[in-house]
Symmetry: C2
Subunit: 408 residues, 2 copies
C-alpha cells in the first residue's frame, strides 16, 4: 500500500471543533482488521427516537454492507440505532462470505447494544476480494460499547480513514426561536486503498426533530448538488455510503425549516469539497460551472465532461491555461452545444467568446490565473437558462505514483 | 510543444512497404505552417472514376475542415478528387475565419488541379484557436501538383505527423480470379499537439471498383469495430477524419466480396492499433473483451468503462494484476451486470469467478502476466450471448509529462 507521507496541500488548516449531538455517542478502537497501531473501527450509538436516512453508490457491484444498509434504510422505526464502520477491508466482491461477514457484524452489534438487527448499519472500506476478518471486529464490541461517549466523533473521523491524508469533519448550528439545532458530520474519501479504488463514506448527525420521509427527501436532493457533483477520477466505488441520523433531542422541528436545509447543505458541501481536496495527488481545487444550457442535464453532462477530461486535468496540473481542451471536452460530451456561441472564463478572465479567443485575452493573464490553488472554470453555452456546478482536482504525477508505482 | 525524444516502445518494427495504388498520386512539402525543417502538407490526387467515402468525429465542436468534408462526402460524382492535409494548425475554434481558411485552401487546390471545389477534401491538425496561415499552404500548391507521384504515400505518412513518435501505414492485397486488388492506408494520431488534444487522421486508398453507397456502408460498419473501438484517454478530437478513396482502376468489382471487406477491416484495425501503440506515454497495449452480455451495447459500455478507467490504466502501468478495479469499472458503467456471475481473465489466467477470486488464482501468476507488453483482459458477464472488444493503452507518468509538464 502507498505510504502517505504528506498531507494534501489543499487540506483545511485544522480539523473543526465538532459539538456534541444529544442522543449520539461514539467510540473507536484498534481492531487490527488490516492496519496495525491505529484505530480502524468506529461505533456510533443513536438513542431511541432517532431516524436514519441514507444514499448509496449506484454501482452494480455494490458491497455486502451497502446492500444490507439499503435493505434497512426505509424502516420507519424510531428505536435506537447503531452504525459500525471498519477500515482496512471493504468486504467487496467476496461472494456469499461477504454477506455472512456483514450479518455477523451487525448481529453482534445488535446483541451487544440491545437493538433489533434491522437498526444496525455497517460500512467496510479497504482492500476488496479478501474475506473480512469479522471476528476481529466482534471481539472489540464490548470494549467499544463501554467507551461510547458524546465527544467521540473526532476519534471516529480518525478511525474511518484509510489513506486519507487528513481527517474530515464539518459542523453548523442553526439558531431558531425554539432553540439551537446542531449538525455535525465526518467523512473519508479519496485516499487510495490498495488494491482498491477510493471509497467515500460520510456520516452526519443532528439533534433536529424531523420524520424520516422528509429528511430522506432533503438528503437525496442535497446529495445531487454535493457528493454527486464531485469527481476525482470518474471512477465509482462499490462501497460509497452516506448516512444521516436525526436524534430529535433538540426538540426543534425542522420539517420545513429553510435554515436547517441550508446548513445541512453547507455541511455536506464542505465535506464533499474536503474529499476533493484530498484527491489522490491533487494540487489544485477546481470548480467547473456550466451556465446557459438548454436543460440542467445538459449543463451537468458538459460540466462532468470537462471535470473528468484527463487532458483538461493535466493542463490544470501544468498551470497551462489551455482553453482549447475545454472546447474539446464540451464537443465530446454528447450534450447540446454550439461552438460559435461558447463563452469561456477562467475566474473573472474572459478567455473565449463567439467561437474564438477573446481579443482582450492574453496568455500571460491566463497563465498567471492558473497559478492559484483554486481554479474556477465557467462556460456559458448561450442556449438557455439552466446551469450546473461540479468540483474536481487536477491530474498529476502524484496520482500516477499512488495508483501505479506501488504494488498491492 | 513537447519534444518527442523516443519512439514508442510499442511501435511496429518498421514502416510497411506500401504498394502503388493505380489512380492515386501523392506529394508532400515543407510549407512552414508551424513546424520548421520538416514536411507538413500533403496532397493526394485521385483520378476520374474515384469514389470517396468517409467518417468523422461526432464532436459538437467540429473544425471547419471536418464540416466542409461532411458537406461534400455524399456527392456521387466520379470526377477526379483531391485530399489536402496540413499539420501544425488544426484551424479549430477559429470562428468565421476558420471557414474562410478552409475555403481558401480547397478552392486553390481545385483551381490548381482543375477539379470542382466539391471534390476537394481537406484536414488540419495541430494547435487550435489560432488562425490558419492558409497562404503558406496555397503558395506551395503548384510545387505540390508538379511533384505528384504514385510512390509518394510513405512521404505523405510523414507529412501528416504532428508529435506521433512513428509514421503509420498498413496494406493488404486481395487476389481474385479477376486480378489483384490493393488497399493501402496511412494514419496519424495520439501524438500531443500543444495546446491541443490528439487528433486522429486516416486516409485509405484502394484500386477496387465499387459504388460509393456500398463502400460507405462498409466503411461505417467497419469503423465501429476499429477506430471507434480504440481509446487512449477518453477524450475526443474536434478534427478526427477517416477518408477512403476507391479509384476503380484494378477493374475488379468488390461490391459483395467478403475477402475485400476482410482485408479492409485488417488495414483499418492495423492502423487503429498503431494509433493506440503511439498513445501518449503508453508502455502497454491492452485489449479488453467483454463477453456474455445481454446486448452488444451493454458489452461495449462495460468494455469502454474498463478501458477508460484511470484506476485500471494506472494499475496496468504499474504491472499490478488489480482485478478489483475491473470489478469497480463494471459496477460504475451503468450497463447490466451481476456481481456474482462475473468471470475475469488475464490472458488465459482465470482470476475471478462467481463473485470471488478463483481458488486456483495466485497473485504471482497475475503479476507475471502483467509484465507482458500486450495485455488481454476478458470479462464474461454470464448474462447473454453478446460481446465487444476495445483497445487501449496504460496511463503512465509519460502521459502526465507530455500533457502537464510542458507549457503550450
Amino acid at each position: 500500500m502507498a505510504s502517505i507521507e504528506h498531507v494534501s496541500p489543499l487540506a483545511p488548516k485544522a480539523f473543526p471543533d465538532l459539538p456534541e449531538i444529544a442522543g449520539a455517542r461514539f467510540a473507536s478502537v484498534e481492531a487490527g482488521v488490516k492496519y496495525a497501531g491505529r484505530m480502524d473501527v468506529m461505533l456510533a450509538h443513536l438513542a431511541p427516537g432517532t431516524v436514519v436516512t441514507g444514499v448509496f453508490t449506484k454501482s452494480a457491484t455494490r458491497s455486502a454492507a451497502v446492500l444490507d444498509c439499503q435493505d434497512k434504510i426505509g424502516d420507519d422505526s424510531d428505536l435506537g440505532a447503531a452504525i459500525l464502520v471498519n477500515a482496512g477491508n471493504a468486504n467487496a466482491f467476496t461472494g456469499k462470505n461477504g454477506v455472512h461477514s456483514t450479518k455477523a457484524v451487525t448481529n453482534a452489534v445488535a446483541e451487544t447494544l440491545g437493538l433489533p438487527e434491522t437498526r444496525v448499519f455497517s460500512s467496510s472500506t479497504g482492500v476488496i476480494g479478501e474475506p473480512l476478518p469479522h471476528d476481529r471486529i466482534t471481539a472489540k464490541l464490548s470494549d467499544l460499547s463501554e467507551r461510547l461517549s458524546a465527544d467521540g466523533m473526532a476519534g471516529a473521523a480518525e478511525a474511518i480513514r484509510t489513506t486519507d491524508t487528513f481527517a474530515k469533519g464539518s459542523t453548523r448550528t442553526i439558531s431558531t426561536s425554539n432553540g439551537d439545532v446542531k449538525i455535525a458530520g465526518i467523512a473519508k474519501g479519496s485516499g487510495m486503498i490498495a488494491p482498491d479504488m477510493a471509497t467515500m463514506l460520510v456520516y452526519i448527525f443532528t439533534d433536529a426533530k424531523i420524520d424520516r420521509a422528509p429528511l430522506q427527501a432533503m438528503l437525496s436532493e442535497l446529495n445531487e448538488r454535493t457528493f454527486n457533483s464531485i469527481t476525482v477520477d470518474s471512477d465509482t466505488s462499490t462501497s460509497d455510503t452516506l448516512l444521516l441520523a436525526a436524534t430529535g433531542q433538540s426538540g426543534v422541528d425542522v420539517t420545513n425549516d429553510a435554515d436547517f436545509k441550508a446548513c445541512l447543505h453547507a455541511v455536506m458541501l464542505d465535506l464533499a469539497h474536503q474529499v476533493v481536496r484530498d484527491g489522490e495527488g491533487a494540487t489544485k481545487f477546481v470548480e467547473v460551472s456550466v451556465t446557459g444550457a438548454a436543460t440542467e442535464a445538459d449543463a451537468r453532462t458538459h460540466a462532468l465532461a470537462i471535470a473528468n477530461s484527463p487532458l483538461v486535468k493535466t493542463a490544470i496540473a501544468g498551470e497551462d491555461p489551455n482553453w482549447g481542451r475545454i472546447v474539446m471536452a464540451i464537443g465530446k460530451s454528447g450534450a447540446a452545444a454550439d461552438r460559435d456561441l461558447l463563452t469561456i472564463r477562467f475566474g473573472d478572465i474572459l478567455v473565449a467568446e463567439a467561437g474564438w479567443v477573446s481579443p482582450d485575452y492574453t496568455e500571460d493573464a491566463g497563465a498567471a490565473y492558473m497559478q492559484n490553488a483554486s481554479i474556477q472554470i465557467t462556460v456559458d453555452l448561450g442556449l438557455g437558462e439552466s446551469s450546473s456546478t461540479v468540483w474536481t482536482c487536477d491530474l498529476t504525477h502524484g496520482y500516477i505514483t499512488i495508483n501505479a508505482d506501488y504494488r498491492s
